[in-house]
């Protein structure tokens, strides 16, 4: 095991104000279970889980309340004991509506005491088979906790003919304000180590690269200690501080120098599996302790919150409860963001609840919120130089403004990772990322419509 500096530098990237000092080094605090939980059936990428309970049911902590529904899907378990108050459509962090189980955690079933026993039987990972371990990851409801929420069991089981040569741990956490992964690496390095041992067994002993940005030396030190005696080709790769260092494609390039081709190619096509460090720790808990993914560490920060914290809270905790746990609002927030300032979602209400992918909640005062009027593009090229995908964002935004989506498609807008680097640096305050998003949505809609048409034609 050794620690190396990244020897591959991708082109592009920006340096936003990180504002990490607000929550940096704050020990993870476990939050008491709030009186009401809003447990979404759609906490992951893919098909929402199928709801298995009805109003009035009592559920125990860890009980499956939403069943895996399809290949790209994961189950949802109750994060706490409680009574199902209602099942209704609730607004999610990203703006979509999804079925959610509303749990009253104060109600107790008559006479029955809550069980303290592990929910799943602990597994000896050395003795367990690969299939048993994969099944456990699936049963524990684990999905990528970095943001996208891709079902982890699917990722750990590459299709036939594809082999994982590198397991890459994403500990870059390049989003401003967020310190959740950082704190997990500092405090739970031994869990990450165990998770790596388990994942290596499942993936056939690939080499391991642990990617950490250079602004987290304490995390590197903790990982060095935890991984000191690991065997095989394992390196901690210290990445330069640069947004979007945490982007999967760019992380693969920065750690092993491989380039993932255009969609639909996946990291596994270049022999890589990338997992967020929090997910890896969750795998260790699921296998060794039989503890499913029921809670996660979320950074609550911003200048409008009294005391920024890194909170371990049940998935389904309402934002209002998180804010209350941080001492409430210092000043009325002007903007509330689920996630970081570069890629997070502005939300309209604190009634929204966390999911397995909620890495941060930011409350920003009006001082920290910029409002702007977009001007004409002056062709300065800052967006081209900032774009980590090496697109021509200036051109794309102009053609999208003119409703010429075809031209945007020809300019590879579908490769856009929506990192926001172009809009961030635009001196004309143009909504470039937003234009790319619009073009991508309309292209996806067109492709879906074409597919439906083709299917209908085939059915005739």
């Amino acid at each position: 095991m050794k620690t190396v500096k990244s020897s591959f530098k991708f082109r592009g990237g920006v340096h936003p104000d990180y504002n990490k000092e607000l929550a940096r080094g704050k020990a993870i605090e476990k939050m008491p279970v709030p009186a009401e939980l809003v447990v979404s059936m759609s906490q992951h990428l893919g098909a929402p889980a199928k709801c298995m309970v009805k109003p009035g049911d009592f559920v125990a902590r860890g009980q499956v309340i939403g069943e895996k529904n399809g290949f790209i899907s994961v189950c949802v378990r109750a994060p706490a004991d409680g009574k199902v108050k209602a099942i209704e459509k609730r607004l999610g962090p990203a703006g979509g509506m999804a079925d959610a189980v509303i749990l009253d955690t104060t109600a107790k079933p008559d006479g029955e005491a809550a069980t303290a026993a592990p929910i799943l039987p602990p597994l000896d990972w050395r003795a367990a088979s690969r299939e048993e371990l994969l099944k456990r990851v699936e049963d524990a409801g684990i999905c990528g906790m970095g943001g996208a929420g891709f079902p982890t069991a699917v990722k750990l089981n590459p299709p036939p003919g594809k082999r994982c040569e590198y397991l890459i741990l994403n500990g870059a956490e390049c989003e401003p304000y967020l310190c959740a992964d950082h704190q997990v690496m500092v405090e739970r390095a031994d869990r990450i180590r165990l998770g790596v041992d388990i994942m290596r067994k499942v993936l056939g002993q690939p080499a391991v690269r642990i990617a950490v940005e250079a602004n987290k030396p304490d995390a590197v030190a903790a990982l060095e200690k935890a991984f000191a005696d690991i065997e095989g080709n394992v390196e901690i790769v210290v990445l330069p501080v640069m947004y979007p260092q945490g982007s999967e494609k760019h992380q693969i390039f920065a750690t092993v120098g491989r380039v993932v081709p255009e969609p639909p190619a996946l990291p596994i096509d270049v022999g890589c599996v990338v997992e967020n460090v929090g997910t890896v720790a969750a795998i260790a808990d699921a296998v060794e302790l039989g503890e499913p993914l029921l809670s996660r560490v979320t950074t609550v920060s911003g200048d409008a919150v009294v005391e920024p914290k890194n909170i371990l809270a049940p998935c389904g905790t309402k934002y209002a409860d998180l804010v209350a746990f941080c001492g409430g609002e210092k000043v009325p927030p002007a903007k509330v963001i689920s996630g970081g300032t570069m890629m997070g979602f502005a939300v309209s209400t604190l009634e929204i609840a966390t999911t397995r992918t909620t890495s941060g909640l930011l409350l920003l005062s009006s001082k920290r919120v910029f409002q702007y009027a977009s001007g004409a593009c002056i062709n300065c090229g800052r967006c081209l130089r900032a774009c980590p995908m090496r697109l021509n964002p200036a051109f794309i935004s102009k053609v999208v403004d003119a409703n010429d989506v075809k031209a945007a498609e020809d300019a590879h807008v579908m490769d856009c990772i929506e990192c926001g680097a172009c809009s961030f640096g635009c001196p004309a305050y143009r909504t470039i990322t937003q234009s790319c998003r619009r073009a991508k949505a309309s292209i996806r809609a067109r492709i879906a419509a074409e597919k439906a048409k083709a299917a209908a034609a085939a059915g005739k």
Binding site: I337, V347, S348, N379, M389, F395, Q434
Partner: protein
Amino acid sequence: MKPKETAEHYILSSSPHTHSNASVRRIMLDVIVALLPTTAAGVYFFGMPAVWTIATCVATCIVTEALCRLAMKRESTIGDLSAVVTGLLLALNLPAGIPLWMAVAGSVFAIGICKQVFGGLGMNPFNPALAARAFMLISFTGPMTTWLKPFWWRTPEAMTTATPLASMKTLFAAETTASASPHGLCSAATGGLPAIWDMAVGNIPGCIGEVSAIAIAIGAAYLLWRKVITWHIPAAFLMTVFVYSLVAGGAPAMAQVLTGGVMIGACFMATDYVTSPITARGKLVFGFGCGLICMLIRQFGGYPEGCSFAILIMNSVCPLINRWTQPKPFGARK
């Protein structure tokens, strides 16, 4: 686009939620700052006529911009300072002694015809200051080619003179008839050219802002440091001029670079964002084209100087260069 406020009054908008604070105004301010050394040099060498020309052009550009926006019923864009930059650049590309009404006409043409008619900042196909200069050169050929001597007030008997470019043109001609004529890198003793040192500091006749190569270089260094411009266009432009003159002979290569509009053209005019390519490769092609056409005009053309026309011609092919030099996406298959 005004973000929508909700019932709870949280501002909703699509990410990113933070900005680098870069602004068009800040960029224009940087360009103005970068132009100060050469402006000061121009005033030092040519005195009050330079001051009046600069003041007239800047003021006229601002007023024209304001009136155009008013007439078009659009919000005022004076605040972005681009009109100030256009006015300053135009003045720096005029001879100091030009009648002020001509400077006014040029400024109105620059902002009104070359910029606002196309929709304002970001929409103009040609560099407004250069297009206006070309318009003035054709319309007012006499005054536009009458050059005050540096420190003209010390020699009241002969205040005007020809620029070194005229002598350099003759040197090209001499070269074609008698190829044995001496040429080299810096041997400026030939053909009655001023010393290289005078060309570098600006002690030569010429436009207000083009004479002092050193002052221009200081400004360009500032723009590079502030990351307002990249090295591609100036480097390609200047290298092309230098190598061309080494190969073609005539005046010394350094003299070709230091005189006329090449320095200010390469550093300030050809690097205009709106009218130059956006990609790095495109910028290299653009700079090369500017240098080549400039030298072809200097050697074979009807005017002694070809810098502004070279840049204007390259402006016109800028969309084509952009199309040919699109970047290849990260991970693209083709």
